[in-house]
């Protein structure tokens, strides 16, 4: 402990501060863009997957295959796939962009499944009523089903997003500057692992604590009680 106190003056420099802030910002960007893209595309995939009829057979099969494939792979493998996929396709991307694509794939597949779970949780008689009143599939989903499914979707979606912040740490394996990578760099600069990773731990905690608070507010706003 005394060692950490001795290290602190050397650690608390303007340069390290900017470096950590940059890493924090990248973690935040990976998390937010991943969740937003994953949420939007995942929602679309879930809606496609729940559609009936022969005309939707191909998009439905694609949505199913995409969700099942990326949901079953470890996050690190998906990131490696994105990395090597980009090199094979000779697409010129930064490491950050590659990590972002990989993380979006992971978030999309997981959130698609969470949304699908919410959609199928709504009583089938709601579909019957809507169909009998001449609602098309998309209108039924948007006006009747999803407003009832949010209560089922939001809690696991928030829980996933909090876990997802931690998944962004895998981006460090590609050499993307984010919090875990910053911890690694700081230790190689000679700071103790306790101080470097301790700082990283605090920043991860602050980030997920703030997002958890936002999540709780969102849950309360749609009428999900905070505690029983």
């Amino acid at each position: 402990m005394a060692g950490i106190w001795q290290e602190l003056p050397r650690f608390l420099t303007w340069y390290n501060g900017i470096f950590l802030l940059n890493a924090l910002l990248n973690t935040l960007l990976l998390s937010i863009i991943g969740c937003l893209a994953g949420g939007t595309i995942g929602l679309s995939l879930a809606i496609i997957r729940c559609a009936r009829g022969r005309a939707m057979a191909v998009p439905r099969a694609f949505a199913w295959a995409f969700t099942e494939f990326f949901r079953r792979l470890p996050p690190l493998v998906v990131l490696m796939l994105a990395f090597f996929g980009a090199s094979v396709a000779r697409v010129d991307l930064t490491l950050f962009q590659v990590a972002l694509i990989g993380l979006c794939l992971i978030a999309t597949a997981s959130l698609a499944e969470i949304v699908r779970g919410g959609i199928v949780s709504v009583h089938p008689n709601q579909w019957d009523s809507a169909a009998a009143l001449n609602f098309g599939y998309l209108r039924c989903v948007l006006t009747v089903i999803l407003p009832q499914a949010w209560r089922v979707i939001i809690p696991p979606a928030i829980s996933f997003m909090l876990l997802f912040i931690k998944d962004t740490a895998f981006a460090s394996q590609l050499g993307t500057l984010e919090l875990t990578y910053a911890g690694k760099v700081l230790t190689t600069k000679g700071f103790s692992a306790a101080l470097s990773y301790g700082t990283v731990l605090l920043l991860y905690f602050a980030l997920s604590y703030a997002l958890a608070g936002l999540g709780r507010r969102l849950e309360t706003s749609i009428g999900i009680p905070a505690d029983r």
């Binding site: 008689n125 009523s129 169909a131 009143l133 609602f135 209108r139 006006t143 407003p147 009832q148």
Partner: protein, 246 residues
């Protein structure tokens, strides 16, 4: 040709046949009541008519036009003229009473909001729910929910109203309030097909009664013919069972 002509209609749930060769005709302003034991295909017939279960064979002709259930446009046209009220009300749980009644005319028929709202308020007044416009379905009794469901069905101005055991899920003291509304609709000459277990009510409002058994129509006639002088053995057995139960 009758307003609604059903000829040799058959349907299956998976591989099990649930309707086989049903033929019926309903004239404009008539109230056809479907009676019969549970599992005889009464509710299934209504689900086929509104296009929730595709028919396997046979034909349905509404106002002189044969309905092709495989063609989305034909199905939309049919649902523009028919409405159904379900046994379990099936109100949209995320909407208020008023919005439940307004949603189809507003979003599907794309009619102007002030006009739709005025009509919806009038319909809800008719079913005695003016005081519950902004309540959600979960805040209403079963009878009230069913009355909202009737108002919602009427809001699309159907030419044919299908009623699927609309009082079966209700507590006995709530049955009457729903039957009163249907009685009123019958007096206004609304064309209806009603599946019902309320035999006294069937006798009172139906102009025609069809007895169904094992997915087919066993006997059809006026209430007096069916209840007082059933011709077939199956009809006699069913009627005598009902009389004993009452």
């Amino acid at each position: 040709m009758a307003f609604l002509q059903i000829a040799d209609l058959s349907a299956t749930y998976g591989r099990s046949p649930v309707l086989s060769g049903v033929s019926l005709a309903v004239e404009k302003g008539e109230v056809l009541s479907l009676i019969g034991p549970s599992g005889s295909g009464k509710s299934t017939l209504l689900r086929v008519l509104i296009g929730l279960l595709p028919p396997q064979a046979g034909s349905v002709t509404l106002a002189g036009q044969r309905v092709d259930y495989a063609v989305p446009a034909a199905l939309r046209a049919l649902r523009g003229r028919c409405a159904i009220v379900f046994q379990q009300y099936n109100l949209f749980q995320n909407m208020t009473v008023l919005n439940n009644v307004m949603v189809a005319p507003l979003k599907i028929k794309r009619r102007p909001r002030p006009e739709v709202e005025e009509e919806a308020r009038a319909l809800l007044g008719k079913v005695g729910l003016s005081a519950k416009l902004h309540a959600h379905p979960s805040e209403l009794s079963g009878g009230q929910q069913q009355r909202v469901a009737i108002a919602r069905a009427l809001a699309v101005k159907p030419e044919l109203l299908l009623l699927d055991e609309v009082t079966s899920a209700l507590d006995p003291e709530l049955v009457q309030e729903v039957l009163d509304i249907i009685r009123l609709l019958a007096q206004e000459h609304m064309t209806m097909i009603a599946v019902s277990h309320e035999m006294g009510f069937v006798r009172e409002i139906a102009t025609k009664v069809a007895l169904m058994s094992e997915g087919t129509v066993v006997e059809i006639g006026t209430p007096a013919e069916i209840f007082d002088a059933p011709r077939s053995e199956r009809a006699r057995a069913f009627i005598s069972k009902i009389i004993r139960a009452h």
